[in-house]
């Protein structure tokens, strides 16, 4: 069994991560993550699933540096994470493209912020636009694109900055079913050709099993890691729609689904 990633060094180490959301009153303070331990290995594609309220998006926000932990730590290559930074690229469910910048300028934004000269950054942005299949809409504005194209542009923007790791927060949740499958295949292709390290949060078990080397199942109230499932399906078999009838895929998906449902049920008791 080949588990790509697990033999490689740890990129992101999450240790005892505990996060509270302050309520309006002290009594309404809520624990969203409670003592979460996660290792993300160099070159790994790690997926996180779980019922709503399990804090999976909070996990992404914390690693991105948008939240301050109550306890515990997050480190990247052994260095403690403090605040947002370009070493951790984020792809948001809402695309988060700047409406006043053309697609090309959106994709080049990270390089502009870094102070790269115009021709240089535009050439690089064009290269990544080509990689995601958007070369011909570089001059358009985000509002002129479909949801799927917007998310491709957002992925290109994140990749252009060449971050150490890519955090993806339910990136395809708002995309229609047909395009979602295509984007899943594309993100796998980018991951393998560019050698990316990805932490991918989703509510779709199919998506998680299709994409991940491992799938982390989280439990809610408060959010914590319930179990970790290794997905030992060879990469060359990960193609829609064929994988839908692959016995290994079905077995793993049903396994993960059962674990998620168990956590969902546990909450209701």
């Amino acid at each position: 069994m080949e588990l790509s990633g697990l033999s490689s060094p740890v990129k992101i180490a999450v240790r005892g991560l505990t996060i509270d959301y302050p309520g309006a009153a002290p009594a309404e303070r809520q624990r969203v993550l409670d003592g979460v331990d996660i290792d993300l290995h160099d070159g790994e594609f790690l997926c996180v699933v779980g019922p709503s309220g399990c804090g999976k998006s909070t996990l992404i926000s914390a690693i991105a540096g948008f939240l301050t932990p109550e306890a515990g730590s997050i480190s990247l290559d052994g260095k403690r994470v403090q605040g947002p930074g370009a070493d951790r690229g984020v792809v948001f469910q809402e695309y988060a493209l700047l409406p006043w910048r053309s697609v090309l300028d959106n994709v080049a934004l990270g390089l502009k912020i870094r102070g790269m000269r115009r021709e240089e950054r535009e050439a690089k942005a064009r290269h990544f636009l080509e990689l995601v299949g958007l070369a011909d809409v570089a001059a358009k504005y985000p509002h002129q694109l479909s949801g799927g194209m917007k998310q491709r542009a957002a992925v290109a923007r994140t990749l252009t900055s060449e971050p150490e790791i890519v955090l993806m927060d339910e990136p395809f949740a708002a995309i229609d079913a047909q395009n979602r499958l295509i984007l899943q295949e594309e993100v796998l292709r980018l991951w393998s050709t560019l050698g990316l390290t990805i932490l991918f949060v989703t509510h779709s078990v199919d998506e998680a099993v299709f994409l991940g080397d491992r799938v982390i199942v989280m439990a809610p109230h408060p959010g914590r890691v319930a179990s970790v499932v290794a997905v030992d399906i060879p990469r060359e078999r990960r193609r829609w729609p064929a994988i839908g009838s692959d016995p290994d895929f079905i077995r793993l998906r049903d396994d993960v689904l059962a674990r998620v449902r168990a956590e969902h049920g546990a909450r209701r008791q």
């Binding site: 926000s61 991105a64 540096g65 948008f66 605040g83 947002p84 930074g85 370009a86 951790r88 690229g89 984020v90 948001f92 809402e94 988060a96 700047l98 409406p99 006043w100 910048r101 934004l109 990270g110 502009k112 912020i113 870094r114 504005y141 985000p142 509002h143 002129q144 923007r157 900055s161």
Partner: protein, 259 residues
């Protein structure tokens, strides 16, 4: 493609003005009133030509516009940075907000008595009042504009490694542009009104002064000329300057919709 509807809507917009002039034209034959209260259309037209030829109108309008421009620039240079800073920083907001609300109640012309005692009648006092009027609409629009930027955009820009100053340049100013433009537009309109009012009361030249001065010799024709000039100037600025800015920024970016 839009040529015909555009012309049509311009003509539609003109109709009330034409109607008003017609009513004015026939008024003397319907109602009876002393001629000095409301001169005829042609009398006002003649006076307009007179004022134009002797240069008095250009001098007055020029003085007013120069003062308005100065007050507009100064007022906004204070209002917009302060509003942006306040919207981005909770502590600044807690310090500045109460005083801003207090001052808003007495904004504009209510400062006239103090302005006269501090600066005397004339230019400085008028400019002070106009700056005061210009300030608040830009200030509040800047605040609500910055606060209307979706949180996910802040996160996106910061996770690309932006410094606070880069956040302001790349996100805050363009992201608040719709409201900033609205604030500028409103503040110029309020400033224009405050200017005329201030010139009427404490001015020593300008279009407002020209009108007030005309009351000494029952110059209703001059006063009406003044009213028309004030309105037409504003219409031109609103239509050509602000509409053009909007077209080339927020409209192009898909940030506002026509209904």
């Amino acid at each position: 493609m839009t040529g015909r509807p555009k012309l049509q809507s311009a003509l539609l917009g003109l109709t009330p003005f034409v109607a008003l002039v017609l009513i004015w034209q026939v008024a003397p034959s319907v109602f009876s009133y002393p001629a000095y209260m409301l001169p005829t259309v042609s009398e006002v037209g003649r006076r307009f030509i007179e004022l134009t030829l002797n240069g008095e109108l250009a001098r007055s309008v020029g003085a007013s516009l120069l003062r308005l421009a100065a007050a507009f620039v100064v007022g906004n240079l204070i209002a917009i940075p302060l509003g942006v800073l306040l919207a981005m920083n909770a502590r600044v907001s807690r310090i500045v907000m109460p005083v801003a609300v207090f001052l808003q109640a007495v904004a504009g012309i209510a400062w006239a008595p103090l302005a006269v005692l501090w600066f005397g009648l004339g230019n400085t006092a008028v400019t002070f009042l106009v700056v005061n009027s210009v300030f608040f609409s830009s200030f509040y629009n800047a605040i609500s504009g910055v606060r209307s930027i979706p949180p996910v955009l802040w996160r996106a820009v910061r996770s690309l490694g932006a410094s606070p100053w880069q956040v302001v340049r790349e996100l805050v100013l363009p992201g608040a542009m719709v409201q900033l433009l609205l604030g500028l537009r409103t503040s110029l309109a309020l400033g224009w009104r405050a200017l005329v009012a201030a010139e009427l009361i404490i001015g020593t030249n300008g279009i407002g002064f020209l009108m007030m001065d005309a009351t000494k010799w029952y110059g209703t024709d001059t006063i009406i000329c003044g009213i028309v000039v004030i309105g037409v100037l504003w219409l031109a600025v609103d239509r050509f300057v602000f509409a053009a800015i909007e077209r080339n920024t927020v409209r192009r970016w898909g940030m506002v919709n026509d209904n």
